[in-house]
Symmetry: C2
Subunit: 292 residues, 2 copies
């Protein structure tokens, strides 16, 4: 069976992911806003096209992995978007972290055209994408999910969380936990600095018990080395937290911890830290507590 696969979005995450699924495609049709970033795939035989609409004319399985919810809107609903040319029976997979409500809107539109969509945001970052160790959180129909499993398995580990939008909701839960662990870890590091503790001894001691977390193991040591490179970029994390807060408000719930952390990261952006890694939160906390 001929597999005409489309891939839209070949950034830091999308490019390695597209390489991983390439072997499953008879033909791979690409679109990216910066066409030069598709080069390594074109060199392998993929076809570069000049709009999402053109991709949707060729492919009956289309992955999208772009940046912000506004980019997803453009790629699906824009004047040269997927929905202008979408063929009946096509399967769409949006792997961008975006609004659960947008995922549902795309699902409704896709159903009208006799198509199927999964929302399938990931966690694991650029390293997870390169090493095919992403955690893929999927919302949509089980039959469609099962069909897509061979593709997901090329990129990491996928789990079906429920119907349309549930993949995005799961990703939001993931980010809400991380917001908490980040503020806890960075405030503890600041307290440790100011009270004269040795950072390495501190981390080794508290990391083994009830304070143990991925953030403490993986990001706190970078703070001790003043390494603030991403990892996961502040601007993207703020986007995710804003989506989670917007969805929470839509559901009528207040999440005061998340709201506070989002504001602290907004401070960090104001300080010019938007392109740093999330562990740079301590820079905002230090600034907040300095008299400079």
């Amino acid at each position: 069976m001929v597999k005409n696969v489309g891939w839209i979005g070949t950034g830091v995450m999308g490019l390695p992911m597209a390489h991983h699924i390439f072997p499953l495609a008879t033909n791979l049709y690409l679109y990216n806003r910066s066409p030069e970033k598709t080069q390594s795939l074109v060199a392998k035989g993929a076809t570069l096209l000049s709009s999402p609409a053109q991709v949707a004319q060729q492919a009956n399985l289309i992955f999208t992995m772009v940046g912000f919810p506004s980019d997803v809107e453009e790629v699906y609903f824009g004047p040269e978007g997927i929905f202008t040319t979408l063929q009946e029976g096509t399967i769409l997979v949006d792997m961008t972290t975006t609004k659960p409500s947008l995922a549902q809107k795309i699902a409704t539109e896709a159903a009208k055209k006799g198509c199927f969509i999964l929302d399938a945001p990931v966690s694991g970052g650029d390293v997870g994408a390169r090493e095919a160790r992403l955690s893929i959180m999927v919302g949509g129909e089980k039959e469609v999910f099962d069909q897509l499993l061979p593709y997901f398995q090329k990129m990491g580990r996928a789990t079906l969380q429920g119907g349309a939008g549930k993949g995005q909701h799961t990703k939001m839960c993931n980010q809400i936990v991380i917001a908490g662990t980040m503020v806890g870890v960075c405030e503890a590091l600041l307290y440790g600095e100011r009270s004269g503790l040795d950072g390495k001894t501190l981390l080794a001691t508290i990391g083994a018990g009830a304070a143990g977390c991925w953030t403490l193991d993986n990001l706190a040591p970078r703070v001790l080395q003043s390494d603030f490179g991403p990892g996961f970029m502040v601007d993207h994390f703020v986007k995710d937290m804003q989506i989670a807060l917007e969805e929470s408000e839509r559901m009528g719930i207040a999440l005061p911890g998340l709201a506070l952390v989002e504001q602290l990261y907004t401070t960090l952006q104001a300080l010019g830290g938007g392109k740093l890694g999330t562990q740079a939160l301590i820079l905002a906390l230090r600034k907040l507590n300095s008299n400079e």
Copy 2:
């Protein structure tokens, strides 16, 4: 050499800890506000006395494991406190989680009397105490720490963090991280409930990645089962967070995340949840987001 050891405080934590060190003592002298709680130690041959002062008359190594900073004040500085009868050369070990500034105050007073003190708060809870798997965070002189190692090894794993008060500061860092992970995990669980996710699938999915933490592994499953028993009691956690906030203020730093979590737990106390486990934070968040 005759080892006359004193133990003050035989509550949920102190009792199993005293049992663990018993074999190292030639004589064990006990004091507890509720004398009946020392029964199992007396049955083994320990001597129950009726004040900390009496203990300090008999013992030249004294452990204290009581409740609140005010209890520590009473046990050391009260009219029947340790300092009224303390013999020169005695080693004091306060294992209560208390104020770093109080630890320093005790150290200053002890030095005046030619005595030594370690502050050595623990983490690991009642289970860690029973199973001798406590993490013991120690502040004080290295020579004294080295002498006490055989005792600490009977209770868990000890690490020297620096001079007087540094054990308490380390414990504060531990609690600050936990405050963050608790609010992140409980807000994520609330978001998950309201957005219709399956709790078990959610935890299994996000626990494996960057959101992974002890709280998610150990306390979130209890929330799913509506098991709000302690574990670690809300009233004690609030005490710890208040100490951390007070010390932060003394050092001239604001920790907005910690302050918020402390306020949320105060809400939980107002709802009658003071004797529940820390995972009951979700009850305060649910209440905050209900129209009852």
